[in-house]
């Protein structure tokens, strides 16, 4: 038996869609389905888009130069200074836009570093097992018990003022263990499935198996971990800035909080100086958390709260009512 006999003679071969185009279409449909009947995704996605656009177009959207003194100190929000001014007479609105750039870039950079390390460690130890797994587990446990924020504070205090790049790297390098753990256990679960054994016996190289067979199955948890790390890094950066350990001359949400604190803005009644960056942080964190939640819903259909659940509730109520249980 050889394949030319098997190759079908009767079937005219139509244009078979290339794998890549099919994947693109699949991704588009999946994204659409993601938002469909998924309130957390819609709200979170909308908020996040607004925030990201604001950060991206900060120089265009800002009304004043955030670094320069443009008015009298502690001017209440009015038509010219939409969110008021700081103790130093700087426009809060422009600052919050500019600060978004700094804070978000640090958070995202830290998230990327952490995710890359987590995936590398998790997949390697899950796939190869044995001694490699033992050593990686050991490293994970060591990094897991690092008290991140105190470590950062000590480091920052030690090194004087730390630039945001250093903060991003430090945050990334200390927050990967959690994700690595989760990815490792998921990899273990997939690794022993027959399609992996099949691929190995078929002669696929180990790298290809990891990249093509295992990783695509992990996308949702990797992405979820990434978002979680971004939220955490954002908070940590703000905390460091608030404590004055970041670069106070650069505008970020953390440094805005720092200046608001040192100028006792709440005490003097200039609530806008403190509240604006705080609300910005809360909104961004909330938006990311909502998106994270909606990713959970996709990977675990039982958590779905789509329109079909409303239909179910209605039917259930009707059934109970007709039986006199209500």
């Amino acid at each position: 038996m050889n394949n030319s006999n098997i190759a079908s003679k009767n079937i005219s071969t139509p244009r078979h869609e290339s794998e890549f185009r099919k994947k693109c279409r699949a991704v588009w449909f999946k994204t659409k389905a993601f938002f469909d009947g998924n309130p957390p995704a819609i709200v979170g996605g909308f908020l996040m888009t607004v925030i990201l656009l604001g950060a991206l177009f900060a120089p265009v959207l800002a009304t004043h130069n955030p670094d320069k003194r443009v008015a009298r100190p502690h001017v209440a929000p009015n038509s010219e200074y939409i969110l008021g001014t700081t103790r130093n007479g700087r426009d809060v609105y422009s600052q919050v836009l500019q600060g978004a750039r700094k804070t978000l870039s640090v958070a995202i950079f830290a998230g990327i570093i952490a995710t890359v390390i987590a995936v590398s460690v998790g997949v390697t130890s899950g796939y190869f097992g044995g001694k490699i797994d033992e050593w990686m587990n050991f490293a994970t446990n060591v990094f897991l018990v690092f008290p991140q924020l105190p470590l950062l504070i000590v480091l920052a205090a030690f090194l004087g003022q730390v630039s945001s790049v250093v903060i991003a790297v430090l945050l990334g390098v200390t927050s990967w263990p959690w994700g690595a753990r989760v990815i490792r256990s998921q990899t273990l679960a997939i690794r022993n499935k027959e399609f992996i054994i099949s691929a190995e016996v078929m002669g696929e190289s180990k790298i290809r198996i990891i990249m093509v067979e295992i990783l695509p199955n992990l996308i949702s948890i990797v992405f979820g971990g990434f978002l979680g790390t971004v939220i955490y890094a954002m908070g940590a950066e703000a905390a460091l800035g608030f404590l004055g350990l970041g670069d106070a001359t650069e505008v970020s949400w953390g440094s805005m909080l720092y200046w608001a604190q040192t100028s006792s803005s709440l005490y003097t009644g200039a609530w806008w100086e403190m509240l604006v960056p705080a609300i910005a942080l809360a909104l961004t964190g909330g938006a990311l958390a909502l998106i994270n939640m909606s990713i959970d819903q996709i990977s675990n259909p039982k958590l779905r709260t789509g329109p079909h659940m409303k239909i179910w509730k209605k039917m259930h109520k009707e059934a109970d009512r007709s039986r006199g249980l209500l």
């Binding site: 009947g37 079909h308 239909i311 039917m315």
Partner: protein, 318 residues
């Protein structure tokens, strides 16, 4: 004629999914007499497990029971309040699940699990509950000392026996068994069946036995009902259903089991795949796979007609 222990009338169970509403159980009516073993046969997706869950009202969202009545000794289970339901469950009806290995809590001893059940329903002292637990284990053929074992210390067959012991704890009149021996080796299955025969003789409970193994049902059931895609398509006494089935699906199902003794000939299962409950055809659900399909099968759903007393089948050709 004794009044039936369990009477199900026109039961419908729906599952609401993002892709539509799937009718898992469609207009099923049947009865179980006291002391009788009724077997329900069918493959995955036919609704037999859903039926079992519905009887004990264990179905969870997104399952809903829009129509139907289930009478247990003249009380409609579907109309029971939570308090009545709690009394009803395990006292009157208990259930043995398919993967009994997983129904046992791995972090507490089996003794605790048995006494938990007893104490939850009866007002007895802890000592009395433990004594009863020991008794139950001995009844299913396990040494009483194993009350202090954990489930992972027992073999698969022993775990299944523990689950049966728990099901018997309050001496219910009806035990629902959902594929209790499917995951077990044939020798262990035989031992469990032997236990079941003894227990039935001793306690006289009815069994609703759900399985896909027709020869097993042919052995232990008094009556057999066959389900396909949510409908009950044949029901009657076990001997006739097994040796002389009327419905094409039952015939095909029986022909899917190669025998050990008997002529060696090429058999055919049933061509095609089980029907998708979200895309049911107009007319009989079995039409796509039926070798005896005619024009009317594609238009009208066949009704479950009584062919002779106590024997019903739903097919246009009968």
């Amino acid at each position: 004629m004794k009044s039936p222990l369990l009477e199900i009338n026109n039961l419908c169970v729906d599952y609401v999914s993002p892709n539509g509403i799937a009718r898992a159980v469609n207009n099923v009516s049947l009865t179980i007499a006291p002391g009788e073993t009724l077997g329900i046969a069918g493959e995955s997706g036919c609704g037999k497990s859903t039926l079992a869950f519905a009887i004990t009202r264990l179905h969870k969202a997104p399952g809903v029971i829009p129509e139907g009545e289930i009478f247990y000794n003249d009380r409609d289970i579907l109309k029971m309040s939570d308090k009545e339901l709690r009394n009803f469950r395990w006292n009157d009806v208990s259930i043995v699940f398919q993967s009994a290995m997983n129904s046992l809590n791995p972090v507490i001893t089996i003794g605790e699990q048995i006494t938990d059940v007893i104490l939850a329903h009866k007002k007895v002292t802890y000592k009395e509950a433990v004594a009863k637990g020991k008794e139950l284990l001995e009844i299913v053929g396990i040494h009483g000392d194993r009350l202090s074992s954990f489930s992972h210390q027992l073999s698969g067959g022993m775990r299944q026996r523990v689950v049966i012991a728990i099901a018997l704890a309050l001496e219910p009149k009806l035990i629902i068994m959902d594929e209790p021996t499917t995951a077990l080796d044939v020798v262990v299955e035989r031992e469990i069946l032997n236990e079941l025969y003894d227990l039935k003789e001793k306690f006289g409970f009815s069994i609703l036995f759900i399985s896909h193994d027709l020869s097993l049902m042919g052995e232990i059931a008094d009556r057999i009902g066959v389900m396909y895609a949510g409908n009950l398509i044949e029901i009657g006494d076990a001997k006739t259903v097994f040796n002389n089935p009327s419905h094409p699906y039952t015939k095909g199902l029986l022909a899917s089991f190669p025998t050990i003794h008997g002529p060696k000939e090429r058999l055919h299962g049933i061509p095609g795949d089980p029907v998708n409950l979200l895309k049911l055809p107009v007319g009989c659900n079995f039409q796509a796979r039926c070798s005896e399909c005619v024009a009317i099968c594609k238009k009208m759903v066949p009704a479950l007609d009584e062919l002779r007393p106590g024997y019903k089948a739903a097919c246009h050709k009968l």
